[in-house]
């Protein structure tokens, strides 16, 4: 949101780097994924698959590290402040978010004029971000289940159980494909909402450029 300062304490360096890593991984995974699903130009399959596997592992490592960071890194939990607290509170709705989920939805649907009181992240935002974690693991699970070298692994029965449950490789491929669309839809909405009310959050998230607000107590 605009109207308040965006300071580096909101996105400490490790979180900025993991966001970059996730973004690059997702772009490569989605592009190569589309290519593997249906090769729309010649001569790229070997490279597409290798890239897909490399960035899949990178994404899994990064997202797992990111979960650990939620409990080991402090960042700001409120808007327009430099006061830091545990990052996990930015993922789980807190006192500031209480009673605001429906109001937030109403605001986005133009059913109310005023923007709602919230923490640094709104109630909807926190739920959406939280959902990306099981979503990412689910798409990785579906991916391993259709990856034939995984048959040789000790934990193959774990993936085979899922294959049996959904009725075979073809259905798992389609699930893997639709989960990618879930990630694409999340990203479209995420990019839109992060920028429609001002580009200060993007400048901070990607380039660590702060936007100051003279009304913050840091300037009084």
């Amino acid at each position: 949101m605009s109207g308040h300062g965006h300071y580096r304490e909101a996105h400490p360096l490790p979180l900025m780097l993991s966001h970059w890593s996730n973004l690059i991984s997702m772009i490569v995974l989605v592009f190569t994924g589309f290519y593997i699903h249906f090769p729309f130009f010649a001569g790229f399959m070997g490279a597409a698959r290798s890239l897909h596997f490399f960035f899949m592992y990178l994404l899994l490592v990064t997202i797992t590290a990111r979960i650990i960071m939620a409990f080991t890194v402090k960042d700001t939990n409120q808007m327009g402040t430099k006061d830091r607290d545990w990052d996990w509170k930015n993922w789980i709705p807190q006192a500031e978010n209480r009673h605001q989920l429906i109001e937030t939805a109403k605001y986005y649907l133009f059913m109310r004029k005023e923007h709602v009181i919230s923490a640094k992240n709104g109630a909807l935002q926190k739920i959406a971000y939280l959902a990306t974690i099981p979503l990412t693991y689910a798409i990785a699970y579906a991916g391993f289940a259709i990856y034939t070298p995984a048959h040789q692994w000790g934990i193959w029965p774990f993936f085979e159980a899922g294959l049996t449950a959904v009725g075979g490789d073809m259905n798992m491929r389609i699930i893997h494909y639709f989960l990618m669309w879930a990630i694409i839809l999340f990203t479209m909405i995420h990019v839109y909402l992060a920028n429609i009310y001002g580009v200060a959050p993007t400048k901070l998230m990607f380039f660590w450029i702060e936007t100051e607000d003279p009304h913050d107590r840091y300037h009084q």
């Binding site: 029965p157 073809m170 669309w181």
Partner: protein, 382 residues
């Protein structure tokens, strides 16, 4: 006695124009298929020779197109697998046996009473209308399977239909077709079953399994779905002679093109090789002459479970998803519609946000949560 059997087998083979040399050579290739050294060829020959006398086979037909029997009988010349199966003491095989009616059915009862036989089932178990969608000898056909399974040393389900219902089971499945494993489990017979899916079955695999049972005296290593790992351990894709073209990104876009002539990869015209687990690429078919991809057709995934519903349409990359009220739609169409709808919705949202003066700064902040405001209006905390 072994000497007698030997003579008898070779007389039978000679009568069909198969020399002893051909037979031993074939036993060597069976050894290779079973993952054994060719050194085992004489032992395999001996197992078949004595097995011919000792091991009766019951071949029970259920809901089927007889394609698997056709596959066994496809030979231009009397090929070795057919002969090997022929010289086994096949006590019942209704499609090819001479006797008929109650005389023929008596063979089942007699063989079951003696025990120690191999049961081969071809075709799906038809459970519709209490099993009356298939009647044999005045009773539901599945009763024959139940009876024959009782004392069998080994049960082999040949072809996708016998394995899990095959194409007979494809939606809407009015016959209530299932596979042998599922049926026998439902009637309380728990016996390990060798599942040999594909439509039709490859005769080489049946011979290999029978030889394995004769030679080792027990079932071969099976995966969790009862398939021999030797045959169904890796995908067609991983052993495909066209795999190089796949990695190079060289695909047949359309049939009748120069790419097809160059034998490029059939992935884009629907090849299901990447998710089909059989050894077709190296065992091949019809006397090891060729197989689907080698003859220019994409794999249609007939070795998969529930293969028709999962793998049709055969010439597209994926099967369709069934949407209520719309029917089958390609997953890529669903994805594109979702993505397009989201893009349009966000565009409209941006325009409305512009008219509301929210772009670049958001709406004016509220000073109190709506919940607290309402609570205060009701009288607040008293």
């Amino acid at each position: 006695m072994a000497q007698d059997a030997r003579g008898e087998v070779y007389d039978l083979l000679a009568a069909r124009g198969v020399s002893r040399r051909d037979f031993l050579k074939y036993c060597g290739s069976v050894a290779a298929l079973l993952g054994l050294s060719e050194m085992y060829a004489p032992q395999i020959a001996a197992a078949v020779e004595s097995g011919a006398k000792l091991k009766p086979v019951l071949w029970i037909a259920q809901g089927l197109c007889t394609g698997c029997t056709e596959s066994m009988a496809q030979s231009r010349t009397p090929d070795v697998p057919t002969v090997v199966l022929d010289i086994l003491s096949v006590n019942y095989w209704e499609t090819v046996m001479a006797s008929a009616g109650s005389d023929a059915l008596k063979a089942i009862t007699e063989t079951v009473d003696k025990g120690g036989y191999i049961l081969i089932v071809e075709g799906s178990i038809m459970n519709g209308a209490n099993g009356n969608t298939l009647r044999v000898g005045g009773r539901p056909g599945r009763e024959d399977v139940k009876e024959a399974a009782k004392n069998a040393d080994a049960i082999i389900a040949v072809g996708s239909c016998a394995v899990d219902g095959g194409w007979v089971k494809a939606a809407p499945n009015p016959a209530g077709a299932t596979g042998v494993s599922e049926y026998l489990a439902s009637v309380g017979i728990s016996k390990p079953i060798i599942n040999l899916p594909t439509c039709p079955v490859n005769p080489e695999w049946i011979v290999a399994m029978i030889v394995d049972v004769l030679l080792v005296g027990k079932l071969p290593a099976l995966d969790s779905k009862g398939r021999p790992t030797l045959i169904y351990g890796s995908t067609i894709h991983d052993n495909c002679p066209r795999r190089g073209h796949f990695e190079n990104g060289e695909f047949v876009e359309k049939f009748g093109t120069v790419e097809e002539k160059k034998q490029f990869c059939l992935y884009k015209v629907g090849c299901k090789g990447p998710q089909t687990y059989t050894n077709c690429p190296y065992v091949r078919w019809n006397d090891r002459v060729s197989w689907c991809v080698e003859s220019g057709s994409p794999c249609i995934g007939c070795g998969n479970f529930n293969w028709v519903d999962n793998d049709a349409p055969f010439l597209t990359r994926t099967s369709n998803v069934k949407l209520p009220g719309i029917g089958g739609v390609a997953p890529s169409t669903v994805g594109a519609v979702l993505g397009g709808a989201a893009a349009v919705a966000l565009g409209v949202h941006a325009v409305v946000s512009g008219t509301q003066g929210r772009v670049g700064k958001g709406g004016p902040p509220e000073t109190e949560k709506a919940y607290d405001r309402k609570k205060a209006a009701k009288g607040g905390d008293k």
